[in-house]
């Protein structure tokens, strides 16, 4: 029983499912009842069904309730103190195995927002670097929304709530990205233009998919690919979750085996972030970039050379990955993975650059040279 409401979910949990018709099953459920479903696309280097029950702690216990083909139902119990009172919260979630992309999963739950935000999502985030979500670039997010609108013939996508961050524009060690929440009630193009002009990006967007005056779904999406919707799950799955799973899969493929130890000759396999504009046209930009890299948490950032070109040595203390970062022209950043360079670490470095400095297109160095 979901507190205060009639329990539509337990019968759903008790049905037999498989990952084949599961999305359709959810779609039907949402269409019939006033519910919303939350989805977290992620990759894991360990099998959730084997791993999750083993990482139970004193305050958090996870057990497998049901196993289906490519789908499992888990239950998480969380104990905490609220003043003098011991409290317990419990919630269930499915892990959907992507049928095509190996190691790519979607965690799906109908639990209330409070459980999702305070317990379930932090649990997944705490498992980094073994579990990794993704990041959706500003450009990609806009494209996903536009495609969603077009393919489903909505007359408008109205952004009802936006959480955005603004990258700092001035030099200085202590300048941070500025978080901001707004309720712009803007259409897509205006909202994206506004945030781009202010050197920012959306951390999350809540929007209504409308056909004229009718609202068909209220959806939210975060930069990490976390989706919440109250309707049209099949369309949302196709329009957002599958593309996000694809991004995760492509990240694994593209960022995988980049460490020098992955080849006998110990050759480096650099990556390029192409900013597309003369990002480093001004010499003061070097310092801005260095300061933004120095804000990378759980890392060492050593400046080997700072001007006129940039050469940094970056150590990721999450797993010991190391990179040489170079800026050798005005529009590109070169990332050279050293002996160890995990997918999660490469993604973390690039994500940090995109969040705190500027977004760009990621390419293989050799391809970028051509």
């Amino acid at each position: 029983m979901i507190s205060g409401r009639f329990d539509y979910i337990t019968p759903f949990y008790n049905q037999n499912h498989s990952n084949k018709g599961f999305v359709e099953d959810i779609d039907k459920l949402l269409g019939s009842y006033d519910l919303n479903v939350k989805s977290i696309p992620f990759t894991s280097d360990r099998l959730p069904i084997e791993w999750f029950p083993k990482i139970s702690t004193k305050s958090r216990k996870i057990k497998v309730l049901k196993k289906y083909d490519g789908l499992q139902l888990f239950q998480m119990t969380y104990n905490y103190r609220d003043g003098n009172e011991e409290r317990e919260e419990e919630g269930d979630f499915f892990i959907y195995e992507h049928p095509e992309y190996i190691k790519v999963y979607v965690a799906i739950t109908f639990e209330p927002g409070d459980f999702f935000r305070r317990i379930m999502l932090p649990f997944f985030e705490s498992l980094f670097p073994h579990i990794m979500m993704t990041f959706i670039t500003h450009k990609k997010l806009r494209k996903l929304l536009e495609n969603f609108k077009e393919e489903n013939q909505f007359s408008s996508i109205i952004i009802t709530r936006a959480s955005q961050r603004f990258r700092f524009n001035e030099e200085g060690k202590n300048k941070k990205i500025v978080p901001m929440v707004s309720w712009p009630q803007m259409d897509l193009s205006k909202a994206f233009k506004w945030v781009y002009e202010n050197n920012g990006w959306f951390q999350s967007l809540n929007f209504k998919a409308k056909r004229h005056i009718s609202t068909f779904a209220e959806i939210s999406i975060t930069r990490q690919g976390v989706l919440v919707t109250n309707n049209l799950y099949e369309k949302v799955f196709k329009g957002f979750i599958i593309p996000v799973c694809k991004i995760i899969h492509e990240n694994i493929e593209f960022f995988g085996n980049r460490g020098r130890l992955s080849n006998r000759k110990l050759s480096a396999k650099p990556l390029t972030v192409d900013f597309g504009i003369e990002q480093f046209a001004d010499a003061s930009e070097n310092n801005k970039f260095i300061q933004s890299m120095k804000r990378l948490n759980k890392a060492s950032v050593s400046v080997i050379h700072g001007n006129p070109y940039i050469h940094l040595s970056v150590v990721d203390y999450f797993d010991g990955s190391i990179f040489d970062l170079w800026v050798l022209n005005s529009s590109q950043l070169f990332i050279v993975p050293q002996m160890k360079a995990s997918v999660s670490s490469i993604k973390r470095i690039i994500n940090h650059v995109f969040d705190t400095y500027a977004e760009g297109d990621i390419r293989d160095y050799r391809e970028a040279l051509d």
Binding site: A268, S300, P308, Y309, L328, Q332, F334
Partner: protein, 345 residues
């Protein structure tokens, strides 16, 4: 100039020398027409050559076991190039003779080329130096040629310079003599600009050559690429806090091996050879480890100083950490000496 800045400049000079070596070697390695790296060219750095009997005794009457040019290139048809690379020349010109004596020692039927019989039929001798000194050094050579300095083999001077532009490049120009490889000599006659971004892989892979780097830089390389790489195998690594440490046991040979395989010119010449000494040299690594011990970052595990325990911690900026701590320690030593002198004066 502050001490920190001076150390950073010396580290930069060290890297600039590596970049110059890589850049010069590449004129021979890279086939400009086919746009590929030639597999019939062998390049090497810091290789030990045995002098001929005539040159195996130096002017002081001492036996010369071997000579080690900074740069070596073995070309098809048994010819080659060897030379020295100098970022800086001292102000006192008398000291320049040392470099030219080295170059003269390469003007010899050296044994040790990576060919079947370890010999070549002919080779060039080249001095690659920073543009800031090239005119003065050329004049010095010409003034002393035939008297103090005598090089019979084809000898040339090639200057280099790193541009201070947003798209940095190394500029190379032959300013004196000729290289026997005609096409390369022709290219270098008017100067060639080599964009740095072409070599970012090699610049990232090669961090050491056969000259000892600044101590804080070597400490950083050992800490990041050897100590940390072992620390991250420890299950505590992932959850390590800044005020916590992990003990990491290593032996000196492992440190040398890891840096040699991963960050020396072995990257370009990976055949094991007794003539190709391991870089970093053992004595540099011992010195670095002694410094780790002095800085309380490590302790020796045996009297022979073959094994060492590091206390791995997370630093926000590993290079700055070691520069500052080396300088602090030097300051303390100076103060201690002053204190002792005052005490006993």
């Amino acid at each position: 100039m502050s001490d920190t800045k001076e150390i950073r400049n010396k580290i930069d000079d060290y890297n600039e020398t590596i970049h110059a070596i890589v850049g010069f070697m590449n004129f021979f390695r890279y086939d400009d027409k086919k746009k590929i790296i030639r597999d019939d060219i062998v390049v090497f750095q810091g290789r030990r050559f045995k002098p001929s009997p005539e040159k195996s005794i130096n002017q002081k009457g001492e036996k010369v076991e071997y000579v080690t040019p900074d740069i070596g290139i073995l070309l098809p048809l048994k010819s080659g190039v060897i030379g020295e690379v100098k970022k800086g020349f001292p102000a006192d010109q008398k000291l320049w003779f040392k470099t030219f004596k080295q170059l003269m020692s390469y003007d010899d039927d050296l044994i040790g080329w990576p060919s079947d019989d370890e010999k070549v039929d002919s080779h060039d001798v080249v001095l690659i130096l920073h543009q800031s000194r090239s005119v003065a050094v050329q004049e010095f050579y010409e003034n002393n040629k035939g008297t103090e300095i005598e090089i019979k083999r084809p000898f040339s001077i090639v200057e280099f310079n790193r541009s201070a532009e947003a798209k940095p490049f190394y500029f190379f120009r032959r300013t004196f003599g000729h290289l026997s490889e005609k096409n390369i000599d022709e290219q270098l006659k008017y100067g060639v600009s080599v964009p740095m971004l072409v070599f970012i892989s090699l610049y990232s892979e090669i961090k050491l050559y056969d000259d000892e780097p600044q101590l804080p830089y070597l400490l950083q390389l050992i800490w990041e690429h050897v100590v940390l790489q072992k620390a991250c195998e420890d299950e505590r690594f992932e959850r390590l806090r800044k005020n916590q440490k992990i003990k990491i046991d290593l032996d000196i040979e492992t440190i040398i091996e890891k840096l040699h395989k991963g960050f020396s010119f072995r990257r370009l010449y990976d055949k094991e050879s007794a003539r190709q000494p391991k870089i970093p040299k053992r004595e540099w690594v011992i010195r670095a480890c002694k410094k780790f011990v002095e800085l309380n970052e490590a302790k020796w595990l045996d009297e022979n100083k073959t094994k060492i325990t590091f206390y791995f911690r997370q630093y926000d900026d590993v290079l700055t950490h070691f520069i500052e701590h080396c300088l602090e320690e030097e300051q303390e030593e100076i103060q201690l000496k002053l204190f002792k002198n005052e005490e006993f004066s």
